[in-house]
């Protein structure tokens, strides 16, 4: 091999070095530092000590398992609703129905409005005395008094899910709309000629052909929803009675509010492990789809 060829072989790797360095600096190093902190009693006190698995033992022996269960329930409900409403929204956006432009415009507000402002608006809407939802329900006779959605554990749980769904639906809808638009119109025309109804075409053509996209956006949505912070924090701060405290809220409270960096890091490591399993699932799905040619 000539000297020139050798230089050519190394050159692409050399080009990767800056990107690799930045990735190590902003991803790998903080992650490694978080793992290290999780084995210490780190706090504001600069003299931290290694305490082995004490942080993990401490959090797993307390209410944290309950928090993990609540997080999965919250995420599952939110993702299921996002997919269902997002799919219906995508069908409306894709259909040649009157008002399609309006539907497309209506998709935008949750994206245009900053999440914090959106959540403050939701907070007031959920208020029993001034809120629109309670007022409307009283006017149409569905309630005989003010309804305080954020005052009880179960209703607060549902209220935070609904607000999170409001944030996440546009992304799902637009993603699925793109998938629907890639389905060949010939198939719909053939089915229409054969007398297939609109519902039949959706059930037999649209849904099966966009299933890979539904799975992909489902997994991505699960990853984003699992760490959803703003909606819960602004609406309830994890209350009442910890009824809306998910893993990310609990971690924030421990690490940032209470300066227990070691304990917070242990919680963060658990979140990373769960996220890794989601990412692995996402990778496997992508690989399978890639092999079957469904992503082409």
């Amino acid at each position: 091999m000539s000297e020139t060829n050798q230089k050519t072989d190394y050159f692409p790797y050399l080009l990767l070095v800056p990107a690799l360095f930045i990735t190590l600096l902003i991803v790998a190093w903080p992650l490694a530092e978080t793992v290290r902190l999780s084995f210490t009693d780190a706090s504001l006190n600069p003299n931290e000590e290694y305490i082995g698995f004490a942080n993990y033992e401490r959090i797993l022996s307390r209410r944290f398992p309950e928090v993990i269960g609540r997080t999965f329930l919250w995420m599952s409900l939110s993702v299921a609703l996002k997919l269902t409403i997002g799919l219906m929204g995508a069908l409306l956006l894709n259909a040649a129905v009157p008002g399609r432009t309006l539907f497309r415009i209506l998709t935008m507000p949750p994206w245009i409005i900053p999440i914090a402002i959106g959540m403050f608006i939701w907070g007031w809407m959920y208020n029993g005395q001034f809120g629109m939802i309670s007022g409307l329900m009283q006017r149409i006779g569905l309630a005989d008094g003010p309804l305080e959605f954020l005052a009880a554990k179960d209703t607060a749980f549902l209220a935070t899910v609904i607000s999170d769904v409001w944030i996440g639906v546009p992304m799902v809808a637009v993603y699925l709309l793109a998938a629907m638009q890639s389905v060949s119109t010939d198939m719909y025309e053939a089915a229409w000629v054969d007398g297939a109804s609109r519902w039949y075409r959706i059930r037999r053509i649209t849904i099966p052909l966009i299933t890979p996209s539904i799975v992909t956006i489902g997994i991505l949505s699960a990853i984003w929803t699992f760490n959803s912070f703003d909606a819960i924090w602004i609406l309830t701060q994890g209350g009442p009675r910890s009824g809306t405290t998910t893993m990310i809220i609990d971690t924030y409270k421990v690490a940032i509010d209470r300066f227990r960096y070691g304990e917070g890091a242990a919680r963060a490591v658990l979140i990373v492990l769960i996220m890794l399993s989601f990412s692995l699932a996402y990778y496997m799905v992508l690989r399978k789809l890639s092999k079957s040619g469904a992503t082409k």
Partner: protein, 402 residues
């Protein structure tokens, strides 16, 4: 050559000036919020201190409340601490445990200059970790028109818990409004108001030695009273903090609320008066006393000067000027305070209650304490747990924080 002399002279002046600047030691001074809280008073006294302490230049940096304490602690943890920092006093124990701030030595005369138990908000492990700068107490605001409409005497606000519950009941039953606004969401306010009720019945959270003393008949009685009066509060109390209760009171939908003095000018459409917290059978009128303080960080090399500046800014006359400018409860018990009440009677309960008020509990994990007490209050008001059990559980959890 005729230009040479002036150039040399100018260079000499510049060099000497830069040498003088080089000698100036800079002191980083972080203040939470913005200069709307009597920033002009602070600036005036800082300039005065600088003129008395040549060689030191104070750089004031206002930091929004949301990031303020975090910024000071992050700078300190990174070894670049501000010389002096305005902080919520609740953060002092944690900073003290971490060895990031230095304690103040106050003479007896300096201690005596503070009103009532104010220094209790900055005392931890027997030492004073900050000099109080901003101070507030809590009191009751009540709607006189609703009192009249409910058949109550608006000149006789409830003195005892019994009268308080009866007044709340009368307003709820005889008007379209709710008797009282009870905060019970997951913010700071619910703990502050409930603990003020505990103080008003002779109870406490931590005793003078810092031991947990929350599990007492006094606290249980306060929780029982809170549960009883919640029947006459706005529905869904666990969704309400100060931000949600204040608009209801402003709209004339609540008979009584509890909050700080900053609301005195916020209700132009409400015919209201202020009064002290009603007291329980085993206590007297009390309140929840909160301070923000100046803390001196260690390792800056200008600790002595920072302490001197803090004391200078909070000296009685300078402090009163600041309090009046910012509309805060006066920290110092000096001549001039009584004029405040003479000019505006709504100040009275906030100032008169100071000697019997209780300090914000001084504990390193303050956020944890807040969560525990709010959780107990929510549990009782949501009907999930009985008052005695909630207080006992909370006391154990507080013990676990220490």
């Amino acid at each position: 050559m005729s230009y040479l002399k002036p150039i040399v002279a100018a260079a000499a002046v510049l060099l000497s000036a830069s040498a003088a600047f080089a000698q100036d030691q800079k002191m980083h001074f972080t203040i939470c919020g913005d200069d709307s809280w009597a920033g002009d008073v602070t600036a005036k006294y800082v300039a005065e201190w600088e003129s008395m302490n040549p060689g030191y230049v104070v750089n004031i940096e206002y930091v929004p409340w949301g990031q303020c304490q975090e910024k000071a602690t992050t700078l300190a943890a990174a070894g670049n601490a501000p010389a002096l920092s305005y902080l919520g006093s609740r953060t002092l124990p944690q900073l003290s445990d971490a060895g990031l701030i230095k304690s103040f030595e106050l003479t007896q005369e300096e201690r005596d200059g503070y009103a009532g138990p104010v220094l209790g908000t900055v005392t931890y492990n027997g030492k004073i970790w900050g000099v109080p700068r901003a101070f507030s107490s809590r009191a009751m605001y009540y709607n006189r028109d609703l009192f009249t409409a409910a058949g109550l005497d608006p000149d006789q606000p409830p003195e005892t818990w019994e009268q308080f519950v009866a007044a709340a009941k009368a307003i709820t039953e005889n008007t379209d409004a709710f008797g009282v606004g009870i905060p019970a969401n997951s913010s700071d306010t619910p703990m502050q108001i409930f603990v003020a009720m505990v103080y008003s019945n002779g109870g406490t959270v931590l005793d003078a030695d810092g031991n947990v003393a929350f599990n007492s008949p006094n606290a249980v009685a306060a929780m029982e009273m809170w549960k009883e009066v919640a029947q006459y509060a706005q529905p869904g109390v666990a969704a309400y903090g100060a931000d949600e209760i204040v608009p209801l009171f402003a709209a004339g939908q609540l008979g009584m609320i509890f909050d700080g003095p900053w609301l005195r000018d916020n209700f132009p459409d409400v015919n209201y008066t202020t009064a002290m917290f009603p007291h329980g059978p085993d206590g007297t009128h009390s309140s929840f006393l909160v301070t923000d303080s100046y803390a001196v960080f260690t390792g800056t090399g200008v600790e002595e000067q920072a302490e001197s500046l803090a004391k200078f800014l909070t000296a009685p006359q300078a402090q009163l000027e600041f309090d009046l400018g910012a509309g805060l409860v006066p920290l110092r018990n000096i001549a001039g305070v009584e004029k405040l009440i003479e000019n505006d009677i709504t100040w009275a309960p906030f100032i008169n209650v100071i000697p019997t008020g209780g300090p914000e509990p001084v504990i390193p994990d303050h956020a944890g304490l807040n969560d525990i007490i709010v959780n107990a209050v929510q549990g009782v008001l949501l009907g999930e747990i009985e008052p005695a059990e909630a207080i006992a559980e909370a006391a154990l959890e507080i013990e676990d924080l220490r």
